[in-house]
Amino acid sequence: MSVRVKIQKFGSKLSSMVIPNLGAFIAWGLLTAVGIAIDNDMLRSFITPMLNYLLPLLIAFAGGKMVYDYRGGVIGTVATIGVIIGSSVTMFIGAMILGPLSAWILKQFDKAIDGKVPMGFELLVNNYSVGILGAILSVIGCVWLGPAISSLTNVFAAGVNVLVQNNLLPLTAILIEPAKPLFLNNAIGQGILTPMGTLQLDELGKSVLFLLESNPGPGLGILLAYMFFGKGSSKTSAWGASVIHLFGGIHEIYFPFVLMNPILILPLIVGGACGTLVFTMLNVGLVGVASPGSIISIMLMSSPGDQFKIILGIAAACVVTFVLAIPLIKRAGGGDDASLKEAAKTMNELKGKKSRISSVFESIEDFDFSKVTRIAYACDAGIGSSAMGATVLQKKCKAAGLDDIKVFHIAIENLPTDCQVVVTQELLLDRVKDVQKDAYCIAVTDFINAPQYDELIEKIKQARSAKQA
């Protein structure tokens, strides 16, 4: 296993402890922000117990459950209460270590006694193994691990403080921006930024650390640069991608654009650094984790009054990345369809599993629209609806100057036929796909004014002009 895969697996383990609990982080962030803003004692009384107990214990439970199901969750939580009691700092890191570790110990114990428990005593043994092991582990945690993890946390915190005090925080972009397209960001985000940011919250009421990785500005800059200076499908998909990126907060969507032209890492780093510089100069922060890194969740998590300044930082990151990316994209010829598709594949390989958004790219590029010459319009009888639809589509093709495209109507039972695209009524789409597997299928509900007609023609025209260019 390569180092990259190891870090990645580590990162995804960390995120599976944090991400399921983000709702609790958000609840805590909101209570804290509102409590401090309106200076309400009742709300403020939530802050410390939630931070010290609820959040680490939730992480411990998720970590234990990941290793050994519900029993693992229980013992992880019990053991973690020990490190919480035995130390003075917020025990996220302790929870991340002790949660899975205790569950693993319980698992080994269960394996060792498997088959040796007399019938009818399983429940007793199961309960007491968790109880006794949990009690022991929590004491160990309190006496030895707590202080050890406290000092480890303090080392990290001191490191962060050094960066903050010397205005070196922007340099973290050198690490964060390249890590993102390689899917290594979870290890950084959940392992360091989330716990350290939460520590800062304790002291300052907000933290800029939550903005470092979630800042959508740099990625947006890349997508905008492709939108204006890209070619072919990288240009057309950049628009939709930027909406998903900025508002949906799924940053993965810009990774293929970077992977197909890796030098773009440079504008990303500089852009990210500029964004962070603005954040630190304006002294802004979030009151909780912004995940996903959508502009919406960032605005909701912004410390009161910081919203506009944060947008400034995001915009700075975006503009700097955009400007620096332009020459690099132009130099690479704007990026062709094949390499974007290839990059989307690379992204899946890097991630180690299929990205939920890679289908966005597949649907665009898997089919070569420039080769379309024959379009079949299929319906059940092949007489009326399809004939009418074919007539309309043929007229539209002619009007668009696509004279060589032949649109013909056909009964579904006569498929498959020699064609590249099949258009049919929505209700009949499944039947068409069953018999004509090689063609690109389009379903319409309105045979006469279907918006899909114009989309198809536009795609064919673009694919053809991209070929010629």
């Binding site: 319906c379 059940d380 009888a381 092949g382 007489i383 009326g384 609806s385 004939a387 009418m388 639809g389 007539t391 309309v392 007229k395 109507h409 009964a411 009524q425 929505e426 209700l427 009949l428 509900t445 309105d446 045979f447 006469i448 004014n449």
Partner: protein, 145 residues
């Protein structure tokens, strides 16, 4: 047979139908009467909706009712029937149907030129709306022009 050959005899205006089956029967009645289709063709159209859903509801408010030639199409014929109130075909966004064009075709290709002319008319949305609300067969034929 092209659109000019459509006469007021081929147009029915403002019929009432209890449901979509009734609408198809009423719309096809003149074709049975003139011998362009056999009664089995009507059942063929209705069966087709039962089997495949209302896929011949082509556009908002417009159905092109037809069956396979072998269901009993005797000769190429076309009939236009508008309904008031419009009829629901269970066709989602294209419901309710205000105009049923009943098509009898004896083979897959002989009526293509006719449909081409028809498409020309129907692609013009304002003209389609005028057809929907035509008050008399004469007005309807004039709009088809």
């Amino acid at each position: 047979m092209l659109l000019e050959t459509i006469t007021t005899n081929d147009v029915q205006i403002g019929l009432h139908a209890s449901d979509w089956e009734d609408a198809i029967r009423q719309a096809a009645a003149p074709l049975t009467a003139s011998g362009a289709i056999q009664p089995s063709y009507i059942e063929g159209m209705i069966d087709s909706v039962h089997q495949n859903g209302p896929y011949f509801v082509l556009a908002k408010g417009l159905a092109l009712a037809h069956a396979r030639p072998e269901c009993g199409a005797v000769r190429l014929a076309l009939n236009f029937t508008t309904f008031d109130p419009p009829v629901s075909f269970g066709a989602g966004a294209n419901d309710p149907v205000r105009l049923i064009i009943t098509l009898a075709a004896t083979d897959p290709n002989s009526h293509i030129d006719l449909l081409g002319e028809l498409a020309e008319v129907l692609m013009d949305d304002s003209r389609m709306q005028q057809l929907f609300s035509a008050a008399s067969p004469e007005e309807f034929c004039a709009l088809l022009g």
